[in-house]
């Protein structure tokens, strides 16, 4: 758009036509105050804080609703304006309780800041304030009515941003009040966006309220540990008796791929970390019972048994099962441990999407994967399968807001009437199980049309739709786990045939994509490189066996048959997830690293208490392939990171850990060190050093040493380290350095999580459970119509 020139406080400012005055001022470093204006939400002009003087206009104008015009001359700070703003603050304070010392927002309150700026501290009123009782709207949402300044941000973010429309305005005049959709409580997605966006302490979070004062927290920006979308979350942490306690999650700095979005899990479900069932001591089975033991005892025992089996039977008698929630560095390290230390390819994980098939299908064009940011900016999106509103809340947010703000065209094809159909330019329901045929048809296989033609959708309609999609340059194709195996090639073909089109494959957990990329497969090395083929890994590691290892079901069979002597489970609960008969492993030596005594941990011989993703550093790759930093925020004394445990077990087996973790640049390591180096709290200088590959990795427990190797060896991961360390997302490409593999589709089991569940982890979140219970108490929900 053409540029427009205006003058603000004597300063020349140029901005694209159509820019709001408030934004133009901001771009020139001139802050115009506001309560109700919020970028990307509809305009209100209600708080009148942004009044400015526009030359030739008799009255002061609201900068939040004024579109800049050529030659406009604006003053933002005259005595008249100052008085107007001061007047607004005074009026607001009239009914606002001055309970800042006990208000959760104290110290972070926009009204407090404004009062400070405009010196409206003198009270002109001697009459009583209007009082209204505080209300609890849900286990996580509290509403203190007198504190509300009616900026309508909450109403808008809930309606426009979330498409939930659970908040409204009741009554008029001074009785106006924000009201929830169910008389006195909320029926909603519990995302907490309303709380986060509230400029004052009117809406507060059940998880955080009265826990601390904002200035007593340290804020750590990291990546959410729940779903595969990889929202950036800023965790507020505070010292506690048992380490560092996480007390809040939000994303007010809007610095991540998610802007200011977080769902209920990202915002509140960090509380599993402090669950009373958390393991803080290693356990060893003695006389049939899991009994507390020291770390030394535990590592010694594991090292001894693994060594024995390797020496007596061979590494192929040990199975390794990895995790979707451990970091890339841990996953990489784990498979390297299996292949280099145990010398077996018996490694697998809970697969939730067929990334290897996509990698294979994208051979030669790995760059056509879309990032999470692309989903927000694409002119058109095709969504096949999945229900992002429940399973990929950020993706759903990106799609919704892309449609709302950029008028993107959304095409939804699903076997269920998913909620995103409300944003869709076109929604088509197809028979369950016909997603593969659909992909084939869209990719040009005309014969597949029979399987998807129904009474409602004719052949002609399908052909029209296909033509339309082909005419959508820069389309982003998003597909769920409904499409697997060979069908993925169809999706890839469709994508490749459209100018500028990109693709996203939806997996389920925080680092499912990372687990796949890092080679937690019996037949694939990191980067989907087949174990049978020669290549960089074989050269570097020398000992990698070329025969594919066992898949999880095969390991279970092996254990039953007596050929699998040991199982090493890192951060997963296969007994529950795969409904495995726990007695299958009665004769195997089972080692489990976990936070809780899960169904898998209870059958173990040794259980090692693990730190979770909020308590360590490393990187995660989200389902789109965006690589992001995981930073240590909380800490629970008595746990260790999976990274450290893997290294220690290798050490206890008598293995030279230097071959496993290329640390040290010649410097010796202190094996007694357990924290510090992994804390991820780098200062600026260190960031620069690291970014340039100059930092000394002094410890074998430094995940950055493995990140070096990942960046060097895994295709697509050669992204800017500086950006990663600075907390920015970097998009990796999905490439396979060989023909890849076609796996048995039955090995893929979607997590079936919804907004309020999160695998085994979710069971330990009080917040999630209280919300689930609360919903059961309420009558069946009815879906609301979009406006």
């Amino acid at each position: 758009m053409a540029d427009v020139n205006i003058t603000v406080d004597g300063k020349k400012v140029t901005a694209p036509a159509g820019t709001l005055l408030i934004e133009a001022c901001k771009s020139a470093g001139i802050e115009v105050p506001s309560f109700c204006y919020y970028p990307n939400l509809s305009l209100q002009g209600a708080c009148r804080m942004c009044l400015v003087k526009v030359e030739k206009m008799p009255k002061l104008q609201t900068a939040c609703t004024t579109v800049i015009g050529e030659g406009m001359i604006v003053s933002t700070d005259t005595p008249e304006i100052h008085q107007a703003r001061k007047g607004m603050v005074e009026l607001l304070l009239g009914n606002h309780p001055l309970d800042c010392p006990v208000c959760d927002a104290g110290g972070e309150c926009e009204l407090q800041d404004m009062t400070f700026s405009y010196g409206a501290a003198e009270s002109k009123y001697i009459d009583a304030k209007n009082h209204k009782e505080e209300q609890q709207w849900s286990p996580v949402v509290f509403f203190d009515r007198p504190r509300c300044i009616l900026c309508y941000r909450c109403v808008r973010v809930c309606g426009e941003g979330m498409d939930v429309w659970a908040l409204g305005v009741q009554n008029r005049g001074v009785s106006s009040i924000i009201a929830p959709n169910q008389d006195d409580h909320l029926d909603c997605e519990e995302c907490g966006m309303c709380i986060d966006i509230c400029p004052v302490g009117a809406l507060t979070s059940g998880a955080y309220r009265y826990k601390t004062r904002p200035w007593e927290m340290k804020h750590v920006g990291t990546t959410c540990t729940h779903c595969a979308d990889g929202c950036k979350t800023t965790l507020g942490v505070r010292r506690s008796d048992t380490g560092m306690e996480i007390v809040r999650g939000d994303n007010r700095d809007k610095s991540g791929i998610n802007g200011d979005f977080l769902c209920i899990k990202g915002r509140y479900a960090f509380d599993f970390a402090h669950h009373e069932d958390r393991l803080t001591q290693p356990l060893i089975r003695k006389d049939g019972r899991l009994t507390p033991a020291t770390w030394e005892e535990a590592f010694e025992l594991i090292g001894k048994r693994f060594r024995e089996i390797c020496d007596q039977v061979g590494g192929h008698a040990i199975g390794v099962f990895g995790s979707n929630r451990t970091t890339n560095e841990e996953n990489y390290l784990l498979q390297k441990f299996a292949r280099v230390v145990l010398e077996t390819n018996n490694i697998d994980h809970h697969r939730t999407a067929d990334f290897p098939a996509l990698a294979a299908a994208l051979t030669g064009k790995p760059e056509i994967t879309a990032s999470m940011r692309d989903v927000f900016n694409a002119p058109a999106i095709l969504l096949i399968g999945n229900d992002p509103t429940e399973q990929h809340p950020l993706l759903a947010w990106q799609i919704r807001n892309n449609v709302r703000l950029h008028r993107a065209r959304l095409y939804v094809i699903n076997s269920q009437p998913i909620k995103l159909r409300r944003q869709a330019a076109s929604f088509i329901q197809i028979p369950e199980g016909s997603e593969g045929k659909l992909a084939a048809f869209l990719a040009g296989e005309d014969a597949a049309i029979d399987a998807i033609t129904t009474e409602e959708v004719s052949r002609a309609a399908w052909i029209t739709l296909r033509d339309k999609l082909r005419g959508e340059p820069n389309l982003v194709v998003v597909f769920g786990a409904e499409i697997r195996g060979a069908d993925i090639a169809s999706v890839a073909k469709l994508t490749a045939s459209i100018q500028g089109a990109k693709v996203v494959c939806l997996g389920d957990y925080a680092n499912s994509r990372g687990a796949a990329d890092m080679g937690l497969y019996p037949d694939l090395l990191p980067g989907y490189h087949r174990v049978a083929d020669t290549g960089k890994f074989h050269e570097e590691w020398a000992t990698v066996p070329r025969a594919p290892g066992l898949t999880l079901p095969e390991m279970v069979e092996g254990a039953k048959a007596g050929s699998l002597k040991a199982l090493y489970v890192v951060g997963a609960n296969p007994v529950e997830q795969f409904t495995i008969d726990p007695f299958s492993f009665s004769n195997s030596f089972v080692v489990v690293q976990d936070m809780f005594l899960t169904e898998t941990a209870v059958i173990a011989d040794v259980v090692l208490p693990a730190a979770n993703a909020y308590e360590k550093s490393g990187t995660f790759t989200n389902t789109c392939g965006d690589l992001q930093l995981v930073k240590k925020a909380g800490e629970v004394t008595g746990t260790k990171s999976d990274f450290e445990m893997i290294v220690r077990i290798a050490g206890a087996m008598g293995f030279d850990v230097r071959r496993l973790v290329p640390f040290g640049r010649g410097v010796g390591t202190d094996m007694g060190q357990s924290r510090g180096a992994q804390s991820g709290e780098a200062d600026r200088h260190a960031v620069w050093l690291e970014a340039n590959g100059l930092e000394p990795k002094m410890s074998s427990f430094d995940p950055m040493a493995i990140l070096d190797e990942i960046q060097r060896l895994v295709p697509g991961y050669d992204v800017s380290r500086m950006n990663i360390l600075a907390g920015n997302d970097q998009h990796t490409t999905l490439s396979s350095s060989g023909p890849g593999a076609l796996h048995d589709s039955k090995l893929i089991m979607p997590a079936q999580d919804n907004l309020f569940s999160s695998g085994t982890l979710g069971r330990y979140s009080r917040t999630l459970n209280s919300v689930i219970e609360n919903r059961h108490k309420q009558p069946a929900e009815t879906e609301v119509a979009a406006d």
Binding site: L60, N95, D127, K129, G173
Partner: protein, 439 residues
Amino acid sequence: MADLVSHPDEVKVVSKRFGKSATNIDRYLELDGYKAVQKALGMQPDAIVNLVKDSGLRGRGGAGFNTGMKWSFVPKQSPKPKYILCNGDESEPGTCKDRLIFEHDPHSVIEGVVIAGIATGSHAGYIYIRGEYRYLLEIMQKAIKDAYARGFLGKNIFGSGYDFEVYWHGGAGAYEVGEESALMESLEGKRGIPRIRPPFPAVVGLWGGPTVINNAETLASVPHILLGGAEWFAKLGPPKNGGTRLFCLSGHLNRPGVYELPMGYNLKKMIYEVGGGISGGRKLKAVVPGGSSCPVLTADEIDVSMDFDSMMKAGTMLGSGGVVVVDETTCMVNFALRIMKFYQHESCGWCIPCREGTDWLKKTLTRFHHGGGVKKDIDNIQYLSENMLGRTFCPLGDAAAMPTISIVKKFRKEFEDHLEGKPCPFEKAGVTEPAAVLA
């Protein structure tokens, strides 16, 4: 139902058919009804707009904007349908004139709507009538039905090839809905919250289409202009203030009532001759010249011409034609309080200054009037009002601030007489109890 009055100085234009059973469509036709529409159908749209412009007709809803000018802002081409919206929400305290038009001459409003439609290229009009006026809504429903039955509305009106639909719409009690953009929200089934302007309704209005919004009296004047000509109408009043106005005389008068007088009629004459002077021969204290939103005039300030421009010069407004006369026995603090109570009740609550300001002013004035006032309250009332003035989202905030500022300025002494626990000097003995500070 409401009693009709008359006075020799009256010039009956809009009220020409009052009391003549013109609700009956046949009777209306006998009284020159629907001639203007037929004339309009034979004219170029621009010619109609210019005619109305030249007639000096200014909006009777309050703001007094030139009607023809307003119509000329409607874009000729529009991808969305254009609409005419008749504002019959009449809720400004002191105003009761649209009521008489609907009661006695509903077809003239319909005719005005259709002409506005022809002039702006619109094909649909809505007549919004406040909810309290249920009987008038029924009169209007019948009038619309009768007009359809004769082919005056609907497809191919008067065989002209022009289609025009007219619909009725009822409100449900809200003063703010009379504000044009809130009116559209209300008609669309929403809370009566005003809209951000620009865009103005003439460009983006009802359901996104260009919309002309006019007061019922404004529209009812239009057919007369078409038949009588611009010059005739313009000459009825002073320059740029064409025509006559229905003045609603109320308060302490001997002969209150709605009188149609030429624009520019002298206010003093209106009070003492047309309205029959102050009841009981008492002395005049103040006049609200055009509905409760206008700054009040003192007894010394009433020798003014009642037209938009002169009133502006006199520091007040012609407003909606509601002339409320206040005699010497009235407590101006109480009067200010009653006005503020109204605006506090009617504020839509959208913007901070209006929502909070009206409430604090009401609280302060209540306490003050009940003897709990302290000296700084007087300045505070002024200060609060000035903080609202010109800074609210819609003019309701100004409407609350203006009369208050004028009363404090012009009757400061009465405020001072209330101080320090003194009972209200105008209250009958024993009535006032110093009230608790109200919440």
